[in-house]
Symmetry: C2
Subunit: 287 residues, 2 copies
Amino acid sequence: MDTLETRELRYFMAVAEELHFGRAAERLGMAQPPLSRAIQQLERRLGVSLLKRNRRGVSLTGAGEVLLHEGRAALDATTAAARRTRRAGGADSPGGPRNRLVLAVKAAASHELLQKLLDAYAAEPDAAEIEVLPSGTCEQEEMLRDGRADVALMHAPFNSLAGFDSEELMTEGQIAILPAGHPLAAHKTLSLADVSDIPDLPLARWSRHGTYPPGPGPEIHDQTQLAQLIALGRTVAVFPDSARAWLWAEHTAVPLTDAPPVVTHIAWPAHSRSLALAGLIRTATRL
Amino acid sequence: MDTLETRELRYFMAVAEELHFGRAAERLGMAQPPLSRAIQQLERRLGVSLLKRNRRGVSLTGAGEVLLHEGRAALDATTAAARRTRRAGGADSPGGPRNRLVLAVKAAASHELLQKLLDAYAAEPDAAEIEVLPSGTCEQEEMLRDGRADVALMHAPFNSLAGFDSEELMTEGQIAILPAGHPLAAHKTLSLADVSDIPDLPLARWSRHGTYPPGPGPEIHDQTQLAQLIALGRTVAVFPDSARAWLWAEHTAVPLTDAPPVVTHIAWPAHSRSLALAGLIRTATRL
DNA sequence: CCCTGTCATACCCGGCAGGTATCACAGAGG
DNA sequence: CCTCTGTGATACCTGCCGGGTATGACAGGG
């Protein structure tokens, strides 16, 4: 009676996101009528109206908005359960659980720290196998939530640690990366205001799930693209100190005085109870 | 293909907890054969063996243990979604969402703080209705997780804040509550060791989901029972300072020097995005 | 060797998820 | 005013699958 099958959740999420039964049905690979009926049944079972049918499209009610948020979390938890269970497959014999951990890392960030962590952990006596999973901009959170990853390196304040357990690993300042020839590159230090409003160097806009924030800067989704655009004198970027590791000859790094410090954490789902994970965290905090 | 219906999850959880298909089926209100078949299908779909059938009972494989933990979280998230959506029902008109928040509080704890919080919040201009939900020993965590509550007052280190967002509200020391006539009641202060091993006053054992930890003390599930047993000179209890509010004449409170301080937090699910909740938290942190 | 407890198999049935065809209705144009 | 289009709802049918009952297979205990 108060069950909420995942199928129903999937259906509702599709409709709530598309705000259109036809498109939602197509996305789900089914016909529109059964989808309509399923949503009606869902509303009846919950005793709540979720959608306002406006004869010209659909909009969410208050309850619908709640179910959109909570349902996302529930679906993520469910697929996470499936994925992590699959991954634990074959690990039957209690003698050698042959655990494998998936570690999500923002591509090309924290190179040095990651290297040290992997080396130190590999030296542990009962080290599990670690699979490093490169993730897009701020994607580590989703990866932890939906089970693609078991543990992640995150960077506050860019990533939100909400809902995860975490330990602090490292704090660093931020630098502006400028074209070597630019006038500002001669400064000893800069402020955020100095670099956020340079007329000839608009800040680049990072891809996030294929979309870009509005603004004048170039659209990028890749560190190499960015590096190249800076080298060409087309843009400027703000990065943590450790980005110095991949600077080109055509780049100049200038410390920012008022940028918030970047804190690298190791984070994992709060309910995790894995021995291998505990070992990795212990290793990380000892670095 | 990688869906994991909630029905399957419910079935597996039952079997994993009972470790017995017959009893699990009974608990689920169904016959045993379809349950067996459902679990087999689940194992085939996941491509993973979850249970070891020992011809004499059943035990979990490694993957089964993982699914037991992750599945619990997923099921909680799903029922939470259903409950919170139901509760948001009728809140259709964006003009007046008539939000109601459910606040879980350990019964009889933090009386004074709770009173101040409710008063202060009620004075806010756009205050939602607050339903106070008394919870058993350390039950607030489950209530937040499975959606029975939206926000809770928790007491570290007794409650675990893992997986929730929280703000610290208050820190207090702990006291021993003794029968007024007892020799130890004459002391100015005591240590934990002093009260944990009094031969004639064994520490009481609190009910937790109907079961009791082992030990010599009396079994209780209610503050009034405890108060009475102390008054009768049968037991001693350790409580935060604020418990002085409900002491009887026959009780004596003695501060404990080495007991860890109790920190009261207001905590909520990390993904919450409710305006009413935000208002309550703002009010709470300003107290 | 039989009895008991336990899970798997065999087989049947009814309900419901899903498909197709169609309706009802609101807006846009003419 | 009528028609055409896009939308979600309704009607009806069908096949699958979830669930039930009966029974089998097998390990332990007496």
